[in-house]
């Protein structure tokens, strides 16, 4: 085994470790979204699934693509696609969750105000 094969083996191991860690986060997030009691705690679980369960496995898949084919056009395509998607998700997933939670809070306060006004 020369040094290039050893390097590819280490890269493949890093990729498999990241994908396995992401699968753990994803199943934890799915159970949390299903079992937690109200909307705000469910947003917490879904954000675990977005950052831990999507960004980490995409970076791991980029490592796996390098270790599969070395440097050739198809693996470089998959690597660039995965890194770009990971950066995009890292920006837009917390933004989307925050926007949605803010509108849910405003909706709830507005409903309480309307029902309080009707009670009086």
């Amino acid at each position: 085994m020369n040094s290039v094969d050893f390097l590819l083996l280490i890269v493949e191991f890093i990729g498999l470790a990241l994908v396995s860690l992401g699968a753990f986060f994803e199943i934890v997030a799915a159970i949390g979204v299903l079992r937690l009691p109200n909307f705000y705690t469910r947003v917490h679980a879904a954000t675990i699934g977005a950052v831990g369960g999507t960004v980490l496995p995409l970076i791991g898949i980029a490592f796996l693509a390098i270790s599969r084919h070395g440097v050739d056009p198809s693996s470089i395509y998959l690597v660039i696609l995965c890194i770009a998607s990971a950066v995009l998700i890292l920006v837009i997933a917390p933004t989307g969750s925050h926007v949605l939670m803010r509108s849910a809070y405003i909706y709830e306060k507005r409903r309480e105000k309307i029902e309080g006004g009707r009670g009086r």
Binding site: E26, L58, C82, I89, S97, S103
Partner: protein, 91 residues
């Protein structure tokens, strides 16, 4: 090589199970926002699922629609929240 294939198969099965759990929350969700957050998590799960299928079948063009799915999800979030908050999508 063989160990890597087995690990990727197990991870694909875990992601399929998570997709079904998100579908259960999407059907049962008491409010609109629960359904939207379930669709969010479903879409991010679907992205990783597409990338895993691409690396498993060694055909990288399966993973092409990942960025489109991510942007549609973000558009769904902002549209729902702006409609609820202002009654309009706006400019």
């Amino acid at each position: 090589m063989n160990v890597a294939r087995i690990v990727i198969e197990v991870v694909i099965l875990i992601y399929i199970g998570s997709l079904f759990l998100y579908i259960v929350r999407l059907i049962r969700g008491p409010t609109l926002f629960d359904k939207v957050i379930a669709v969010d998590a479903f879409s991010y799960d679907l992205m990783v699922f597409m990338a895993l299928i691409a690396i498993y079948t060694e055909n990288p063009y399966i993973a092409s629609p990942m960025i489109l799915v991510a942007l549609w999800t973000f558009a769904l979030d902002t549209y729902i929240s702006k409609i609820v908050e202002y009654g309009d999508i706006g400019e």
